[in-house]
Symmetry: C2
Subunit: 314 residues, 2 copies
């Protein structure tokens, strides 16, 4: 049997056909932002799923169903609710909408970061870890939290929104409608905003980075930092310091053994991890000192989210 | 059978003899700060326990044991570790020390706020609530977190230290050795510090409040606010605003249905709760809006912590 794993991101939606055991047989992707609304998105996703299954030359009956990881995804209700970084706003009952296309399949949905945490538990470094947090650093910042071997959904299915912890009251405007959320500082988008602020402060004029796709630009800043660009280095330091404090604070809630970092920004490696570890250690409460590890996820980037989403049907 | 429930606070240690079913037969208290060190504290506690049992005219064999709630108490290890507000510092293996006095009794220990959460679940308003947080507002700020019907201990037994979430980097010095922890603002002590700052700002001279015991002084500020004292009212507004934001942030981690407030400061009633609710609503992420209640604990003050600690042996 096969499962289709779907990872809905602010920029790109990725999908893969996953064999039992966890091999990704084939995969594809499409631009999330190009979809006019939720109906268009569902139609495109259904089309892409059909094409993926047809391309693999397997019968539709050999597919168990679809597991979907989405920003602000609600596991209990099968909905995406008020996603700050998607083009379709409000409440989208995506599971019901996909059921209309695939009535005989099982379809489940969860928060994209919860899917990453499921993936880390089933296929990654967390196989033997019962208390951990996965932080996804992409367009936004997401989190999936395991407590005593179980993924925390909370009473309404929306636990683990660390990206929307307010770290700077009255700070940067966030896609959620509030100000100063962690993800406005610690994410690919946040990194770009910080760099632009530093450039403007130094030159008095706006940078042209806003013309570039965000993910590309975060990579550009990482490359500049590798070349020794002082503003790019300061950008990573500021970003890591914010994130390190926020992660030290998160430890004081659920007391995890490991925090895994996942997603595009982790490609920066030590550029991010060295100042992050320093800020984390500096802000960790004494009772947790020396007990909590920060690690980069053990899963391969794009496949991890797909595998995690597929694991929803296990 | 009976259980001795013990609530160790920064100012006072309370103990009670609890009947099966949850009635507190008799209780007593002693001054925590008067004890020179951990050995003296354990000796005094053992003496008080013996006197309590003797006074009730029951046989020592009719007592199951002792349940202890303590700041920075570690359920897994039976230790109190680096308590910011107690006179004995470092690591105190209190369960082992009490075992030396009562070898045949079962002795368990947990965080004082976890004990309050256990009490709320077993005897209070949370009987039918699976996801909730109890916030204790005393000398410090503690928290006990339930996720899907289970108290969260985390991998090391120290989950739920919301009082030590850093809300103001570089802010007020905290007993834990760091700066800007939530409890330096939102607690009886924090309330007094805020009031003193406001008084100093207005008059240019230090108030004499530091001469008073902290708990008494927090009550004094509440009384002043009731009389319409503008600085006292502003103190409650500032305190409640800090706490409201921090609680809204905590919702984004475990997504509780209710947050129960417990302890001395809640005696201030609407003086605290009205601005708290306002700040909480203003900072809550849209996906949680209208789903999370703030309530004052359903348990009677001093007995609640004793009952919660006793519930450790159930």
């Amino acid at each position: 049997m096969y499962t289709v794993g779907v990872d809905i991101g602010g920029t790109t939606t990725k999908l893969g056909l996953v064999e039992e055991g966890g091999r990704v047989l084939s995969s594809s992707a499409f631009n999330t932002a190009d979809q006019a609304d939720a109906q268009a998105f569902a139609a495109t996703l259904a089309f892409q799923v059909r094409r993926l299954v047809a391309g693999a030359e397997i019968a539709q009956a050999a597919v168990k169903g679809i597991g979907i990881g989405a920003p602000n995804g609600n596991f209990h209700k099968g909905t995406i609710e008020y996603p700050p970084n998607l083009s379709f706003k409000g409440i989208t009952p995506l599971v019901a909408m996909m059921k209309a296309y695939f009535p005989s399949w099982e379809i489940r949905l969860t928060n994209d970061a919860n899917a990453a945490a499921l993936g880390e538990k089933v296929y990654g470094k967390a196989k033997d870890v019962d208390d951990f947090i996965v932080i996804t650093l992409g367009t936004g910042l997401g989190s999936g939290i395991y407590v005593e071997g179980r993924l925390v959904y909370g009473h309404d299915g929306f636990a683990g929104e660390l990206g929307h912890v307010i770290v700077e009251p009255g700070g940067r405007a966030c896609g959620c409608g509030r100000q100063g959320c962690l993800e406005t500082y610690a994410s690919a988008t946040g990194l770009v905003r910080t760099y632009q602020e530093l450039v403007e402060k130094q030159t008095g004029i706006s940078g042209d980075l806003s013309q570039e796709p965000e993910e590309h630009t975060a990579r550009g800043i990482a490359e500049a930092a590798e070349r020794g660009d002082s503003l790019a280095l300061e950008t990573f330091l500021l970003t890591a310091t914010r994130l390190g404090l926020a992660l030290a604070n998160a430890v004081a809630v659920t007391s995890p053994r490991v925090i895994y970092l996942f997603g595009g920004l982790t490609a920066a490696g030590e550029l991010l991890m060295a100042p992050l570890q320093e800020a984390f250690d500096a802000h960790l409460l004494n009772v947790y000192q020396g007990k909590v590890r920060l690690e980069i996820s053990g899963l391969p980037g794009s496949e991890a989210a797909i595998l995690g989403a597929a694991a929803l049907l296990d």
